[in-house]
Structure formats: C-alpha cells, structure tokens
C-alpha cells in the first residue's frame, strides 16, 4: 500500500514550518511528526494531502522542567515521555499514559504533539492532558496562543488548531500531593483504548482537596468527568468514596453519545467507563496513601 502522491517539504525550524503553512495556504496540507497516525491514514483512510510538511525541529523534541510546570515539546516521543526522569518525576501521569500507547515501535516514533493534534477519540494522552490540567501551546506567524486542554478537543478528531497554526508543545502543571493513575481497557487489535481513564486526586491528610478525572474512548473526544470529580471533593479518599464517585461516571456522558463501532458497543463502553474510573481511582488512592510506588 502506498500513499497517494504528494509534495514533501521538510521544516527544520518552527518559523520554517509556519512559512510553509503560509506558502501552501490554498493547498491541502498535512503536518507530519512521527507519522504513526498520518501515514496509515494516507494509505487506507483516503487522506490525500497535496503537501506534507515534515517537522524535523530538534527544539521541539525537548522536556523542560520549570518551577511549577513541565513543558513538553510537540516532537517528544512517547518513548521519551516514558524514559524521561523529568517527566516521570514531575508529571508522572503523562509518563504512565504514554507507556500504554501502542507498542515499542509506535512509542519510538509517535509524538505527544501528533497525538494531541490527531485527537483520536481513543487516544491516551488527551485524557492525561485533561486530568493534568495541561495547556496546549500553539504558534502562528503572528505569535503564540495557549489553549487549555479543556477547550482543545472538539470531537471526531477536530481540535482548536487553526490551519495556519502549529502545535509546538504542552505545558503540564505539577500535581499537588496525592495520587494519580491511568487505567485503560485496550482494544487488542487497534492498540487504542476502548475506554481509558486518567485521574489526578490531590489530598491533604487523606481528604480530597482537588480531583480531575478524564476519560478517553467513551465519546467522540476525551472529556472531563465533573460528576465523578464532585463526588470526590472534600471526601476521605477511601473505598467508599471511590465507589460512590465511580457510580457517577455514566452520569457525565449522555448515553446517546457513547461511541459504538465494530470494536465495542456504546453500552459496553458505558460499562467499561464505570469500571475503569473505579480502577484509576483505586490506584490513585493507593498511591496517595503511599501503598504503591508511583513508578
């Protein structure tokens, strides 16, 4: 299988990439990072861009830990997210979600920027970004723009990225004391999550002070689960609270919106959602209590 013919342009800097997006403003352009969504889609899913702009920008393959946040460059691979002591030490949920992506070879090539820009409804990192309260960093010819993860995913693979913009990175604030987890039901053939749940639960002396819980795979985009979060707030982080919070999961997604496809029915995904919210919260609670090593 070959992709259809296209023109290939390599950009070695952000400004060069933005210049190419401007030059080809009237063409159908795809931005290529690791290529593990785009190349298969160009072979079999009818994506036939006129031009592919390949990002070969070392500056975007970087992880920078700052005072209260880690900035991850868009071209950082999943493998780097998993292996990076900085990522594991400061924003471990991102490392844990990345460790679940695909397989060894996919993690070697696929990037965080490509993952978020592609916004596959079963992708892992969008859930981690939401539960981490991350901010997506965009650039165009006029400057920078920041979009909170909660505003970034628009459903069905659509995102806040405009056609003249480049996703350059993600800013992830450090979680407070407490626990985190990413738990998912993997579809064995596609490698994507049928349902995946990311959770950050901040605690003080065993009581929840803040909770962010997000799900991927359930509907057409990754979403926060506000009813689950509310059920955790100000409660002791114990088994009863976890059960009560998980039982709210289905209230956060309209049953009609549950994804139904050849891999799983919407009804099954709804069942999985409740189960995997519970599993993520159980692990987060164990970690908050110090029962489970974080890595």
């Amino acid at each position: 299988m070959f992709p259809a013919e296209f023109d290939y342009e390599r950009a070695e800097s952000v400004s060069e990439a933005l210049g190419l997006l401007e030059r080809y403003a009237d063409a159908d352009v795809e931005v290529l990072a690791g290529g593990h969504s785009l190349v298969p889609a160009m072979k079999t899913e009818g994506r036939e861009p006129d031009v592919v702009v390949d990002l070969d920008v070392p500056a975007l393959d970087a992880v920078n830990a700052l005072d209260d946040r880690t900035v991850v460059g868009a071209l950082t691979t999943y493998a780097t997210l998993v292996d990076s002591g900085t990522v594991r030490g400061t924003v471990p949920l991102v490392a844990e979600a990345a460790s679940e992506v695909g397989d060894t070879q996919i993690r070697n090539r696929g990037t965080i920027g490509g993952n978020l820009a592609e916004a596959h409804p079963g992708a892992d990192l969008p859930a981690a970004a939401l539960a981490s309260d991350a901010t997506v960093l965009l650039r165009d010819r006029d400057g920078k723009r920041e979009v909170p993860a909660t505003d970034f995913f628009r459903g069905g693979g659509e995102t806040a990225v405009e056609r003249d913009e480049l996703l350059t990175g993600v800013r992830v604030p450090y979680p407070g004391d407490g626990g985190f987890a990413y738990a998912r039901k993997t579809h064995p053939a596609t490698g994507y999550a049928m349902v995946g749940v990311a959770a950050v639960v901040e605690t003080e002396e065993g009581t929840v002070t803040a909770a962010r819980v997000a799900a991927t795979g359930a509907v057409d985009r990754a979403v926060r689960l506000p009813s689950v979060e509310d059920a955790l707030a100000d409660e002791p982080l114990d088994a009863d609270t976890v059960d009560a919070a998980a039982s709210e999961a289905r209230a956060d997604v309209d049953a009609d919106r549950l994804r139904s496809d050849a891999y799983a029915s919407g009804e099954f995904r709804g069942e999985l959602l409740e189960t995997y919210v519970a599993r993520a919260l159980e692990t987060a609670a164990d970690r908050a209590a110090g029962d489970t090593p974080t890595r």
Binding site: M1, F2, P3, A4, E5, F6, D7, Y8, R10, L32, G35, H36, V39, P40, M42, K43, T44, V52, D54, A79, D83, G102, D103, T104, Q105, I106, N108, R109, A189, G191
Partner: protein, 180 residues
C-alpha cells in the same frame, strides 16, 4: 509529485538513492536497495514484520517515509549477522523461536533494542516489548524463551557456543546504552 535524493546507511553500507515522497522506508530497503530482511506484512503498522532499527530505535519501516529517514542509519536483521548468526539469532534458532520465519526479522530488531536497554528482562517485560511483533504460526512461548536465552548468553558473553565470535561487537556485555 516530488522526488528526493536521500542517503541511508544500511547495515553499515552507505547508499544514495532517489525516492518519491510517498516511498515507504520498507520499499526503499527492499525494492531499491535489495535489503529484503524486513518483510511487508500488514502494511498498516500493526504486525511488525517490517521492523528495523533506525538510529538504534526499533521502528516499523512500513510507517516511515523513506525521505524521513534521510541521513539515518538502518540496521536490518541481516545486518545483525556478521559472518554467522549473532547471539539473538542463534537463540531464536536454538529455542525454536520461529516456524515460517516471516515475522522473525522484525522480532530480532525489536529484541535487539530491548536487550540493549534491559539486559535482564522478565518474561512479562519481553512480552510487553514484543507486543508490536505478531507471530501467526509458532506461538509466543518459544519466542519468549529465545529472548530469555539470548539475554542470558549476552550477559555472560556466551554467544551461543557454536560460533562464539559471531557478531562480536554485539556479543559482549551491553554497552553504555544499557543505562539509558
């Protein structure tokens, strides 16, 4: 359509070739250069039969454009054999880690990365590392056995007995990359 002059170093030999934008690395290797160790299996990035090491990372060469690999170093399963089977290949042979052999070049490439990073993997770690390499005939037990055997031999510097000097560079203790 655009074409591009690229340079690839494949199994130690530097090659210059001209590829279309859409030429996939696996086709450049097989059809342009005659390096037929990586096999074309599912063509959709799932089966791993086309896996090669690209600058030391196991990648599915059906999901990389050849032009993306410009300037890179590619190691195929054939390149691992230097005058004889290397310890990983020898272990797959000894443990019956293959039947038809179609998936094997990819299994070897991924195993090489695994053992460079983790010289003493558990069986669970081996299975996790090889998740992206699908075998449809022999089953995975003997493949995991083979990787365990290869790891043990590499740790002790025993290349497998019959050809102790084969693949000598790789047969010794894992290099500094093991700590990465």
């Amino acid at each position: 359509m655009s074409t591009h002059d690229i340079t690839l170093t494949v199994d130690g030999t530097t090659e210059e070739l001209t590829v279309e934008s859409r030429t996939l690395l696996v086709h450049a290797l097989r059809d342009e250069l005659g390096d037929t160790a990586p096999n074309v299996g599912c063509e959709s990035g799932k089966c791993g039969a086309c896996t090669v090491e690209l600058d030391g990372d196991a990648v599915k060469s059906c999901t990389v454009l050849a032009v993306q690999a410009d300037g890179s170093s590619v190691t195929t399963a054939a390149g691992l054999a230097d005058g004889g089977l290397d310890p990983v290949q020898r272990a797959f042979h000894d443990e019956h880690g293959l039947q038809c052999g179609y998936c094997t070049p990819g299994m070897l490439a991924t195993t090489h990365q695994l053992l460079a990073e983790n010289p003493d993997p558990s069986r669970a770690e081996i299975r996790r590392a090889l998740k992206g390499n699908v075998c449809r005939c022999t089953g995975y037990e003997s493949i995991v056995d083979a990787v365990e055997t290869a790891a043990a031999r590499l740790r002790t510097g025993d290349g497998g007995g019959e050809e102790p000097t084969a693949g000598s560079e790789r047969a010794g203790a894992p290099g500094p990359g093991a700590e990465d």
